[in-house]
Symmetry: C2
Subunit: 217 residues, 2 copies
DNA sequence: CCCCCCATGATTGCTGATAATTTTAAACAT
DNA sequence: ATGTTTAAAATTATCAGCAATCATGGGGGG
């Protein structure tokens, strides 16, 4: 008999979700007993989940206790450099190794995501799916894993650049260019297109952060 | 008063060492109670260390229990692709961002490591130091972290390519070329030199593995 | 009035015990 | 001999409680 999919996820996923949703924001302290109460388990599984999150750099130590990691400007820039290189590599490999079916899935995604242009949240999820599909198409498990880590770190960023006016349209065009390059099996073009895509996204983020910072003064 | 450096490392380091030394080899099952006995602590810190090692892919699940991960031929190839790209990036960034002092340290390493040419073990450690120094010179903390992960995965490989006849000399020449490129602040040359270095190392490994496999028939 | 010291409470680290699950192996039937 | 069922052993997952450490705040002392 098939086990019903329990709605009782494990502590790791629960805490990750809580961070994603914004229950805990960068800088917040995570107290084991509090989390244990909130999720109705004892401290042991909480501790283990916290340590896993720590090794993935989503949490960081402040003295003896753990706080949600935050990305300052420098760290964000450093993350983007690494992300760009890894995603670029994934695109290059995808152009070389993707199965025809995988490419078709990518193309369909680009089509279907047009329907989401009004909804930044849905667009952000679609964007993640799209990139994940490229990672998988690289057929390099290590790369997929490293990129998972990178993306998990980006969960610390509250905003998505896709919410900025007009960025959604541009991003989809860039996706289209990436898929076209992969279709042509042109690794270098795919690499460049993905690099351009992330560069544009980073630039948008910096601009919107600058505006927000000014507004906060 | 300064605490004496305790010879009682934490469970994580102890298990990692045990894997490094070869007490536990890829495929071996790690039993919590056995490790707890061996290191004289209770199962809880062992469990936490095991989970950390699992998230770093040094251990993998086989059903409910953990075994030391192993790298088959494909996984090794995939790892090398990612490693090459990341180390190449580090070299390029180091050429751009390294402080003069950091470059001098690199140059000294190349000089001093000549003295170790007879001792593959010492050479392997020196090699790790050298690469780590380049990582740091990139001044990108994310990259340093990702590369740490990659190198930890390589701990699963029992042999070092530096033990192969003549490889030590070649490797040091390649190190020399890398440092020269960084000195000239020529990022592209540094990138290419590092790529070449790793490519040569990988090739050496494949050859020696092939020989060993034949001998085992 | 401000600063330092100590006591108190909060929080993490660890232990031993218990529950749940899986693996092992042994007896049995085919 | 081989496959299958069932019971026992081993192992992992979780829990509640204790010990150690750290932060906080409330008095003295200057």
């Amino acid at each position: 008999m098939q086990m019903l999919k329990s709605n009782h996820k494990d502590a790791y996923a629960l805490i990750l979700d809580a961070i994603d949703i914004g229950v805990y924001k960068p800088g917040d302290r995570l107290v084991e007993s509090e989390l244990a109460d909130r999720f109705g388990v004892s401290r042991t599984p909480i501790r283990e989940a916290l340590q896993r999150l720590e090794t993935q750099s989503l949490l960081t130590r402040d003295g003896r206790s753990l706080i949600v990691a935050s990305l300052d400007h420098n760290q964000l820039a450093e993350l983007y450099v690494v992300r760009t290189e890894l995603e670029g590599l994934a695109a290059r490999l995808a152009a070389r190794h993707a199965a025809p079916e995988e490419i078709r899935v990518l193309r369909e995604m680009v089509q279907e995501d047009r329907a989401l242009l009004g909804d930044p949240g849905a667009l952000a999820r679609a964007n993640r799916r799209f990139h994940k599909q490229i990672h998988l198409a690289s057929h390099n498990r290590y790369l997929v894993q490293q990129l998972d880590l990178v993306h998990r770190s980006m969960a610390l960023l509250a905003t998505t650049s896709l919410a900025v006016d007009g960025r959604g349209e541009l991003a989809l065009e860039e996706h289209e260019a990436i898929v076209s390059a992969i279709e042509k099996a042109d690794g270098e073009a795919a690499y460049q297109a993905l690099k351009h895509h992330l560069s544009a996204a980073f630039e948008t983020r910096l601009k919107s952060d600058a505006t927000a910072a000014q507004a906060a003064e």
